[in-house]
């Protein structure tokens, strides 16, 4: 007998897997309300919401947050422009070395962050470029481009090439074709890619460590904060915030690309 329903052992295993992945996140949330500030104690000795107020009032958190948002925004902007251009160039054109070039663009996301980090640090050092916000942005852009590029390429491959020809045929020049046909077609793919890129950049630690000078992004701030045994739950408050900030765009990106998956290539 064949059945479409999974048996209970499989369900149990799947459930355990999901729980293992997500239960620890609940601890982060719980500790944000702990009254104990020197160490993580379970069960919680008491509940309080005062750490939210404390976190709100701390200037170092605000500085780190602003820096992180700034870097993520600039990296995403760079990635959107360069990733789209690369996708446009590589999606249809056929030339010698195209596959290699495509692989080279994707490589930074496959490489361990530490390799990207060390190589960038060495290169910046050799070129005598002082470590600054700019160097962090460049580091982040290397992998942000990949996300945008992948999304754009996938959408372009699903789009009928005759759409562009139809536009030209009806009297639109290259710019108008880009503006009225290509951009709307790519729209949701770029939005999704951009949000993923933003989320990736926002919580990046490794590459940031190697490309930063004195700057402290939010994830770096959290890392240093863990070492200091002072107002520990504040870190958890920030962590909860980071989960929300990264989760929401990813969810949005997921829904955006899912809804358009069937209609994107329906030129036929």
């Amino acid at each position: 007998m064949r059945t479409d329903k999974a048996g209970w052992p499989l369900k149990l295993a799947a459930g355990a897997g999901i729980a293992f992945l997500h239960l620890p996140l609940l601890f982060i949330l719980a500790y944000a309300f702990s009254t104990e500030e020197k160490s993580y104690q379970w069960p919680l000795p008491g509940l309080t919401t005062k750490w939210f107020g404390v976190a709100w009032g701390r200037q170092d958190i605000w500085d780190a947050l602003t820096l992180s948002v700034e870097i993520a925004a600039i990296s995403t902007a760079i990635a959107l422009v360069l990733g789209t251009l690369a996708a446009g160039g590589l999606a249809r054109a056929k030339f010698f070395g195209r596959e290699t070039l495509s692989l080279l663009i994707i490589l930074p996301i496959a490489l361990p962050g530490i390799v990207t980090g060390i190589s960038l640090r060495t290169a910046f050092g050799a070129a005598d470029i002082p470590f600054s916000v700019l160097t962090i942005v460049l580091g982040h852009a290397t992998f942000c481009i990949v996300v945008v590029y992948n999304n754009a390429v996938a959408r372009l491959r699903r789009t009928s090439p005759s759409l562009i020809e139809a536009s030209m045929d009806l009297g639109a020049d290259a710019f108008q074709t880009f503006r009225y046909v290509l951009l709307p077609t790519l729209g949701t793919a770029l939005l999704a890619g951009g949000m993923l890129a933003f989320a990736l950049s926002f919580d990046e630690v490794i590459v940031t460590t190697f490309t930063a000078g004195q700057q402290e992004t939010l994830p770096i701030w959290m890392l240093t904060e863990l070492i200091r045994p002072r107002q520990r739950p504040v870190t958890n408050v920030v962590a909860v915030f980071v989960i929300l900030v990264t989760l929401l765009p990813i969810l949005a990106a997921y829904y955006l690309t899912r809804d358009t998956a069937e209609t994107a290539g329906s030129g036929k």
């Binding site: 005759s162 020809e165 536009s167 030209m168 009806l170 709307p184 209609t263 994107a264 329906s266």
Partner: protein
């Protein structure tokens, strides 16, 4: 003499070593409904793309109403295309799709909307303007593509396998409608097809393509009745090609091979029934395909080779696979083919 709508002079398009189009000369008259017919890979679609400007010839020159179009981009040619996959913009409404050609030319919103509605009523789609292409059937999308191609009042309308994706009934309807539209608008229509029936029934003139070259240009009657080569005879209406050797056994002084249309052959029950002055062959019936109004009888000759016969299913001599049949035809039904 008036200027031809489209003219090709020694046009070639080579992709590396592949000769997609190889030395094509062609003149299409203004107002003509012209078909480019050929199997896939014969160069007909490439020719259409050369007219539209999506592709440039490697050799030769193309003129549209006397004007050389070398290096003129598609958006500056008075030519519009109906694409095989329709290529409707999925993110735009039907009305915006139709009005696209006016929008990029900077025509105002109200004028655009009016003109689009007019074009939609021309293709019998009034009231569909607010829908998205995804909400239309295949036949309706085809009409939208047509309306969109016509809105810029092109001098030449190009249609790339316009009916290819439609089912038979719809295809027959659209054939009639395209012809009506063509008469109504008086524009030059150039369409590409691999369907010989479509080419013969719709076009004023047909060019038969094979291997990047035009094998024959003529009216549907000329193409059908007087195929120039073996290829045309076989591709258009699947004619029988009778070899010279076989003809000489029948006492015909052969000038090479000849084509013999299946419907010009009569099946006789015996030799005495063969009409005076007709030629006859004896063959074994291999298969009988009943097609409603007509039947197709495939016969096998003793010396090898097959001959297909097409006759009225009603009242014909009944034959069954395996039976012997006498195939009779007038000598005048033989059409001599060029050696090519």
């Amino acid at each position: 003499m008036t200027e031809p709508a489209v003219s090709f002079a020694g046009v070639s398009r080579h992709f590396g070593t592949i000769r997609a189009v190889d030395g094509v000369d062609l003149e299409i008259a203004p107002g003509e409904f012209f078909a480019m017919l050929g199997p896939s890979g014969s160069g007909k679609t490439t020719c259409l793309r050369l007219i539209a400007g999506f592709d440039q010839p490697t050799d030769g020159s193309i003129r549209i109403f006397g004007e050389a179009v070398e290096g003129v981009p598609p958006y500056r040619r008075a030519v519009n295309t109906v694409f095989q996959d329709y290529a409707l913009f999925p993110h735009m409404s039907v009305a915006d799709n139709v009005a696209y050609g006016l929008m990029v030319r900077g025509v105002g919103k109200r004028a655009r909307r009016e003109k689009a509605e007019e074009m939609l009523s021309l293709v019998k789609l009034s009231g569909f303007g607010d829908r998205k292409p995804a909400q239309l059937s295949g036949g309706q999308r085809q009409r939208v593509a047509l309306a969109r191609a016509l809105i810029n009042a092109p001098k030449v309308v190009l249609l790339d396998e316009p009916l290819g994706a439609l089912d038979l009934k719809l295809r027959e309807e659209m054939q009639v409608e395209l012809r009506t539209l063509h008469r109504q608008l008086g524009l030059t229509f150039v369409f590409v097809t691999h369907d010989q029936g479509e080419a013969l029934s719709m076009a004023d003139r047909v060019a038969v393509f094979n291997d990047g070259r035009i094998v024959q240009v003529g009216t549907p009657t000329e193409i059908y009745e007087q195929p120039r080569t073996r290829f045309v005879a076989d591709f258009v209406g699947s004619s029988n090609v009778i070899e010279a050797a076989l003809l000489s056994t029948l006492g015909v002084s052969a000038r090479g091979a000849a084509s013999l249309r299946p419907e010009r052959i009569r099946i006789c029950a015996s030799v005495v029934e063969v009409p005076e002055g007709w030629l006859s062959l004896s063959a074994t019936v291999a298969d009988v395909l009943y097609q409603g109004a007509v039947r197709r009888v495939v016969t096998q000759l003793a010396g090898g080779g097959r001959i297909a016969v097409s006759d009225a299913a009603h009242g014909a001599v009944s034959v069954a696979p395996g039976a012997q049949a006498i195939l009779a035809f007038e000598p005048a039904a033989l059409h001599w083919l060029e050696q090519a």
